[in-house]
């Protein structure tokens, strides 16, 4: 099933490219258009502050393509073929999640490369790189299962692309772009507690050497929480279609 997803991705690269291009473009916009102005708000080069948070945009954007893929499978009939075969029906979902993980790693890698090219200078030991990559993968995995649930409840692929929108907005409403203490009250509280902020702080801490504090634990908790919710939700919805 995973092979199926990878083959689809190769066959239909425009979707994948748009998923990766958009965040990279945003990276460039923020770095160059806003970078100078924002340097006053952050210490050092803005790109160093920006890059780790932008890496998290990739999993968020991938949620949209994943939800669409799931919705396409369930509404176009192929899921009925899988259900009447002696295979685990959830393997269809797992194949998509696996494909998303692969794309997430590739996308994040591409993003990191672009960031390096425009001046990002991370400061991390190999073990910290591994930890960051692992955390990113875990986050992608958790968000993927939420996206699977969204795809399963969508009546058609078009509406499936809209459901993950809140998640795509979240990176902007956190510490990915600017420190949260410059935000107005209300928004600041929201930004501090939403999942992307501790994730950003942890990854930035790992890759740039800034302080992580309690963010790591919070980030992990979010990953596990979202992952469990997403998985259980998806399994429930998928099974409910029986009879």
């Amino acid at each position: 099933m995973l092979r199926r997803n990878l083959r689809q991705a190769v066959r239909y690269p425009s979707l994948i490219i748009s998923i990766i291009v958009m965040p990279v473009v945003l990276l460039l916009v923020f770095a160059f258009v806003f970078g100078g102005a924002l340097e006053a708000a952050t210490e050092g080069e803005y790109i160093d502050y920006l890059a780790p948070g932008m890496l998290l945009m990739i999993p968020a954007y991938l949620m949209a393509s994943l939800a669409v893929q799931i919705a396409t499978d369930t509404t176009k009939g192929i899921v009925n073929r899988f259900r009447t075969m002696p295979i685990a029906p959830a393997s269809m979902l797992a194949g998509h999640v696996g494909g998303t993980l692969v794309l997430g790693l590739l996308g994040s890698g591409a993003m990191a490369l672009v960031a390096l090219l425009i001046g990002w200078r991370p400061d991390a030991e190999p073990v910290e790189w591994l930890a960051a990559a692992g955390l990113l993968a875990l986050f992608t995995f958790a968000l993927a299962w939420i996206a699977v649930g969204m795809g399963l409840i969508s009546p058609n692929p078009e509406s499936a692309s809209n459901l993950p929108l809140p998640f795509i907005l979240l990176p902007f409403l956190g510490s990915g772009l600017v420190a949260t203490d410059t935000m107005p009250a209300g928004l600041r509280q929201f930004a501090e507690y939403q999942p992307f902020t501790p994730m950003t702080e942890t990854i930035r801490g790992l890759l740039m050497g800034t302080e992580i504090g309690g963010s790591a634990v919070v980030a992990l908790a979010w990953c596990l929480g979202l992952g469990v919710i997403g998985f259980v939700w998806s399994a429930r919805v998928f099974a409910r279609r029986d009879g």
Partner: protein
């Protein structure tokens, strides 16, 4: 009674299914022998697709015993899935992969050894006339080609029982005949059992050894095509009249005729083969009776006729009929 000893491919006893308040299937009994072609005939909404879904483990019945080759669909679902192949109205192919890749996907999912899988894929592509388009993306296939690919994918696992849910709905006549031929050849070559649902009497007639007519969740008739058609007026000439007095005068003058009253269009059905001699005889009889018909048509039995006979109501208000209007 153990079904493995009777050797039937499909056994259904007392199948019931409701969606909320709506009773869709109300006590269905069926038996299909191995190697038979069985057709479930009925209009839209009769419960055909639900029946197939339950038989193929996609849905659970509310009540009833259903076995496929001796295995119960509720308790031995995976064993059943190893034995069946299912094609539905909407072709279950992956539009982003090529035909060959689609077939290969199914083979891989069923863990077929690589060399055998490759050979099987090539055989199926050839058999279903898809070899030329094998390496094109399936999303670009025509309707007929997509159906053929769908059927080919279903056969990868070598199923013993094939379920075809309205296999030719929406296809042009040529594609339909091609599908019928493929199915007939398949059964002749491999001895697979076929359970198909259809709303076309002609399809059931062409393909099936036995037909069951489904209406409102119940089987209202079952038998061979010949047996069913004997219940129904065969080829006949249909005459319409201006009013009922004309109708009755004509009925008196035409022996063997039957009043077929469809709403406010009083009509008479006169048995006959619709050939020129029979037509002339009918017109002569009408002349002698001193009555004029307002319309005349030659009819072959349609699903409507079957339903009218068996259930007293037409299959559906908008079902197309096979009228060949000759004169008005």
């Amino acid at each position: 009674m153990s079904d493995t000893t009777t050797g039937s491919a499909i056994t259904v006893r007392g199948l019931r299914k409701s969606y909320g308040e709506r009773r869709v299937l109300d006590g269905i009994d069926l038996t299909v022998g191995r190697g038979d072609i069985f057709a479930l005939l009925g209009p839209n909404g009769a419960g055909k697709t639900t029946t197939v879904q339950i038989l193929t483990t996609l849905r659970r019945a509310d009540a009833g015993e259903i076995t496929i080759c001796g295995h119960d669909v509720a308790s031995a679902a995976d064993r059943v899935r190893e034995l069946i192949g299912v094609t539905g109205q909407f072709a279950a192919v992956d539009g982003l992969l090529t035909g060959r890749e689609n077939l290969r996907l199914v083979a891989d999912l069923l863990h077929l050894p690589k060399t055998r899988a490759t050979r099987l894929v090539d055989e199926l592509l050839a058999r279903f006339d898809l070899a030329a388009a094998a390496d094109r993306v399936a999303g670009g296939y025509s309707g007929g080609m997509t159906r053929r690919l769908d059927l080919a994918m279903t056969l990868v696992g070598g199923p013993r029982v094939l379920f075809l849910d309205e296999p030719t709905t929406g296809l042009d006549p040529r594609s339909r005949r091609a599908v019928w031929q493929t199915i007939a050849e398949l059964v002749a070559d491999t001895g697979v059992t076929v359970f198909l649902t259809t709303q076309y009497l002609e399809e059931a007639d062409q393909l099936a050894d036995r037909i069951a007519v489904l209406d409102g969740g119940r089987i209202v008739a079952e038998g061979t095509a010949e047996e069913l058609k004997r219940l129904v007026p065969g080829h006949h000439i249909r005459l319409e009249f201006a009013d009922r007095s004309d109708l009755h005068a004509a009925a008196a003058g035409l022996p063997g005729s039957r009043v077929v009253d469809e709403g406010d269009r009083p009509a008479l059905a006169v048995p006959g083969d619709g050939g020129v001699r029979a037509l002339r005889a009918v017109l002569d009889d009408l002349d002698r009776a001193g009555v004029e018909a307002t319309a005349l048509a030659v009819r072959t039995p349609t699903l409507d006729d079957v339903f009218l006979t068996l259930t007293g109501h037409p299959a559906a208000p908008t079902t197309a009929t096979a009228d060949k209007e000759i004169a008005r």
